[in-house]
Symmetry: C2
Subunit: 370 residues, 2 copies
């Protein structure tokens, strides 16, 4: 790579903001291009940092990548808080996985067994033990797993901190939409931002910006609800609570301010961010099965975002052609995978080899890129 001075980051979600912050702090002249930073899927997200609870046989590379990134999170959060002069939003209370019916508990047994095979252990808990840890869990919760290492972050608190840290480090915000990314420049509607290196971190829309990503990123819609505890309602759980509820993935992620995030549906329906009646009905119904007390909570917000997904559920991090990097396709794991992604991108900026771990995310794995 040539000597890099000017870096253009396309997309102001958690990945783009983090790259902009760290690159600017490292002395690069950074412009972040986004018509509305911190407003897309990162804004809608639940913010779980949960590689173990999401471990799936056949996705060992993703588990390794997620575990490595989770290990980096506490230091990343501390640095962020210092750089931004405000809280990072990281919560360290851990995760409980729960199940309701026999099939759910079978699924949890599968997760526990898979993690044991990989040398990671989790503790099985009865319904009674779960309710001792989290008294708000309802009688329908019959068993589960304690996964203390899986954390969570308040996505909106983190985004505001990242935006502040990027600005403080000298990153410049260009409030326009990119139409195309090419070596040496990012095209906007009527002009272009010139740069030595362009980085595409534009989430589900990344595929529209460069031909090598065209068929690689597809939007997976997720609906999510935000609740707030009202006067006399039971307090939310302290830990993240997630699990299959009658087979449906369900999570309840508590916030520091009495808020509770409920997620998330998964629909492959293109660029559609409308919240449906069926989605809300399922989210509320499943969450109420887990925690009956939410009936008294306020429903503050119902939103939908688009996860940028790839065929192998791994992100796409690496060079698309000289002068153009991708750091996108993080599917359900944008927040989790941020520290490891940013570290890899910064290594590439310096012309160094990134972590061996990151090899699995190279765009060349699809074979078709230029």
């Amino acid at each position: 790579m040539q000597r890099i001075e000017h870096v253009a980051v396309v997309g102001g979600g958690v990945i783009g903001l983090s790259i902009a912050w760290k690159a600017a702090a490292a002395g690069y002249r950074v412009r972040l291009i986004d018509p509305a930073p911190a407003s897309g899927a990162s804004h809608v997200a639940g913010g779980m940092l949960a590689p173990l609870a999401e471990a799936w046989p056949g996705e060992e590379e993703l588990l390794e990548l997620g575990s490595a990134s989770l290990e980096l999170w506490p230091e990343f959060a501390d640095e962020l808080a210092r750089a931004a002069g405000r809280e990072s939003g990281l919560r360290r209370e851990g995760t409980l996985m729960i199940g309701v019916d026999t099939a759910d508990r079978g699924e949890l047994d599968g997760v526990a067994g898979h993690l044991a095979d990989l040398g990671r252990s989790v503790t099985r808990l009865t319904g009674r033990e779960l309710r001792k840890l989290e008294p708000s869990l309802g009688p329908a919760v019959r068993g589960g797993l304690d996964v203390p290492g899986d954390l969570a972050v308040d996505n909106r608190v983190a985004l505001e901190a990242l935006r502040a840290a990027a600005a403080a480090a000298g990153a410049e915000f260009v409030a326009e939409a990119a139409t195309r990314v090419r070596p040496g420049a990012v095209d906007l509607a009527d002009s272009a931002v010139e740069c030595d290196l362009a980085i595409i971190s534009a989430g589900a829309r990344s595929g529209t910006l460069h031909p090598a990503l065209a068929e690689r990123i597809r939007p997976v819609k997720g609906e999510i609800l935000r609740l707030r505890r009202r006067g006399t309602a039971l307090p939310p759980p302290v830990r993240t609570v997630r699990g299959p509820v009658h087979g449906r993935p369900t999570y309840l992620v508590p916030r520091a301010d009495g808020g509770l995030v409920l997620g998330a549906t998964q629909h492959e329906v293109g660029f559609d961010t409308e919240v449906t009646v069926g989605g809300v009905r399922d989210l509320l119904g499943d969450a109420e099965t887990v925690m009956p007390g939410i009936a008294e909570y306020e429903l503050v917000e119902a939103t939908a975002g688009l996860r940028p997904s790839t065929e192998d559920n791994l992100p796409i991090i690496g060079e698309l052609e000289p002068g153009v990097l991708a750091a996108t396709g993080h599917h359900r794991g944008g927040f989790l995978l941020t520290p490891v992604t940013v570290r890899a991108v910064l290594a590439m900026l310096r012309g160094e080899e990134p972590d061996a771990l990151i090899k699995a995310t190279d765009p060349s794995r699809f074979g078709g890129q230029q």
Copy 2:
């Protein structure tokens, strides 16, 4: 009453806007005082004009008042459309009452019997006959009543028309909050609006403005959802569909643009306009029982408003003391009762006796006023 020139209307809901329009059009100099007109309970409302479907033994005066007002609606709507130069929002497709279980059908029999006793007839329909009229009704709907005379109005379309008509007629909008109403003036935070006559139409907050209303108006919270049909979803019903669903009052009110309004909960919890999880769960569940196709609809909005309710469910229309009129306490019937209320208030402005019907709404019925 002295000769009246300056009229101050406190409250810019459907009642206040309508009085302001009609009074300004009649030549009075009108000021309408509201920090945010058309934003309170009238904005949240479903807009049903349904005296028959809401008829209740013991509330014959309310039925008479509602029926008289409903008769005035078509002409009121035509005048409004002409005065505003835009649509009034009135829909003339009528109402179906439906029931799901045996107890619901018993309740409908009671309504039909009560109306028959009063000389009004409604037609009983089987589930099959109902689905012939409205194919979107689900198999759980077992029987019902055809109430073609009960209409509906798109409350937000009507409010915008009323605001335009009032402005066109010369009413002046004072965007401040009233703190007290007394003969000769309406007090604001730092000033006062002087007037020959003040009219209190401030909904659930009317009780804070004048001592004679202090214990007379209580807020009854109602949660309501707004849906919109998505691409492939079944169209909404053409008529308003309402009924007891497993004993719970439920209504689906279609809008001209593919929208569908679902209401409404009733909670006596003071000045609380937060939307609860339990309320949304019940509204969606009951509506989906009636019309399974809503699962594919977009959930556009969840809001709550405060009905201004009185102990006998009749509004309070009349003089509180010389120079101060009340036109408030319309409970669930603000839109329905608007034409008859406005006609009565205009008669009072001219120093005439209002309709005999309106006698039942006189503030003196409570005995305690000054």
